[in-house]
Symmetry: C2
Subunit: 359 residues, 2 copies
Amino acid sequence: MLKLPGLIDPHVHLREPGATHKEDYDSGTSAALAGGITMVLAMPNTKPPIFDQVTLDLVLASAKKKAHCDYAQFIGAGPENAEMAARLAPYAAGLKMYLDSTFGELRLDDMSLWMPHFEKFPRDLPIVLHSESRSMAAGILFAALYDRPVHIAHISLKEEVLLIRAAKERGIKVTCEVCPHHLFLSKDDIPGISHGHPGRGEVRPRLAEKEDVEALWSNLDVIDCFATDHAPHTLEEKDSNTPPPGFPGVETILPLLLTAVHEERLTIDQIIEKMHTNPKRIFNLPEQPETWVEVDETASYQVKTSQMYSRCGWTPFEGWQVCGQVKRVVLRGQVAFENGKLLVEPGYGKNIREEQNIE
Amino acid sequence: MLKLPGLIDPHVHLREPGATHKEDYDSGTSAALAGGITMVLAMPNTKPPIFDQVTLDLVLASAKKKAHCDYAQFIGAGPENAEMAARLAPYAAGLKMYLDSTFGELRLDDMSLWMPHFEKFPRDLPIVLHSESRSMAAGILFAALYDRPVHIAHISLKEEVLLIRAAKERGIKVTCEVCPHHLFLSKDDIPGISHGHPGRGEVRPRLAEKEDVEALWSNLDVIDCFATDHAPHTLEEKDSNTPPPGFPGVETILPLLLTAVHEERLTIDQIIEKMHTNPKRIFNLPEQPETWVEVDETASYQVKTSQMYSRCGWTPFEGWQVCGQVKRVVLRGQVAFENGKLLVEPGYGKNIREEQNIE
């Protein structure tokens, strides 16, 4: 039996408010605990998006009632909320900027709209960028120009990891995360995931070439965090004519990574570094006292949606044979998950920023 | 009568080899002289593109026979010619990288393909980037990472000029140029240019919003050079179903800028700085002894294609009333152009890099 510290997932979509048929703070944080994750940072591209006091209050009220594990909530950057976002920073996980996708209030097409956010958002919290390829390079340039940290979400390409390496070597304050699906799947796996429903292979950033996947593995030292980008959609939605992009991930990340350890492609120390030590430092997160995860690293089993807590009802890793199972999760002194059973009530999870502000 | 130094246009397409029905070193350099330009730097996206020893020799042989004004020829960056380009650097105007458009041998989709060029190309010559918006930001990041100069071609957007200002303030070695058509035309002018042929309004970067045009004017101090991006296509081509993007420019740039001086939007010193002093420094160009341009700054006349030397047979500025006419151009002690007449033979123009290498 292996004992890990409480794992942190700095990138989850809990679909609340606005799409709680896919997931909510209750189901999403239950799934997190089942996956060995004791703290999640939730993304703001909800309906409505979280971009001001009213929407932040709205989501935090739900979270307070429903969360099983600890959490913080990102605020989204929009064309006109730089002052507001900076003011709300102490109550948020950080600032999320969508530089490629565009959504109503979080639309940031023009680089001049990035400037007020980089000027105003507090320097002790990172700005997290959804930024692919050249937009990522543009984001790193902003980190250099404003001399402040940025964290690049879900990198997937060889050019991205190589450029981040070069930027780190020059002292630019950039960190990054990679998702399990970009480490364990490539474009070539889409038919196998799809079972005739191509929507199941849709994710952003897209699954990449094998060469990209290999570049991520061979540059693991550049990668600060493993994050799921847990993005649940129901199977019905994924199999529709307009499939939304995104994979669930919190219940599969640790078994997949432990399997890689078993295959000697990764070490336990790397998992601890990239799922505990680094996210804690990068996002300025508090210690969770008396918190740990017990794992049977020899247990071999098949990934099955039927045993999952996520509301979305599917996984791209269905049927994968993995080695390493979460047996017990202790969160702040209480057994929160054991042998497949969730043992803490909704509302047990704490908003770690609220706790930090009280201190 | 106003006396200006020989003007330098660091961005012309002379269409040689491969499209000499549009322009060649003969007609293009004649047009340049008629426009008060005594030195041109020619772009490499020809057919074939100029990307190795054979293609460079090919174009320079034509140029030697045909050029009326002085010149140098850019070499293009491709996915596999970084070593070769660096070796040919002393014989070239500089290295041109196309980061947005993609053309056969000059295709550079992946940022990891930029790296060998930034590593190898000599630091005393700039790398010139066709790079719009985020690609431009990515290019500036490369300048920062490799600590070497880049020159951004034809900026057109507010976000671009603001970002270049910020990068310069942080000491990044970036310079830039703007084209007359992005200073004097916006999207709103397309119908007026088109005369029912929308292809006539096509240019890359596209004509921008009025707000962008205003931002260029109000940030002139950030703009190092005025360059034409002289990109001649015949009127027949422009009016076809597949109109190629591009405007001619060498015969209109100076009258347009002098008109702006007349309107007190610009000063003569700014013209000299951005069309002589700065390009000379940025591109490491030699002095042209006994070279000057005489201009009647009070002469008011209409722009007419029929009086032009360019082979393309049209201009987007047809019929514009301008104030300021090139009367006489003296190039290395010889009157090269006077009262509408070209007075030097093909072959009079020198490859300035060849001269520099002999020294």
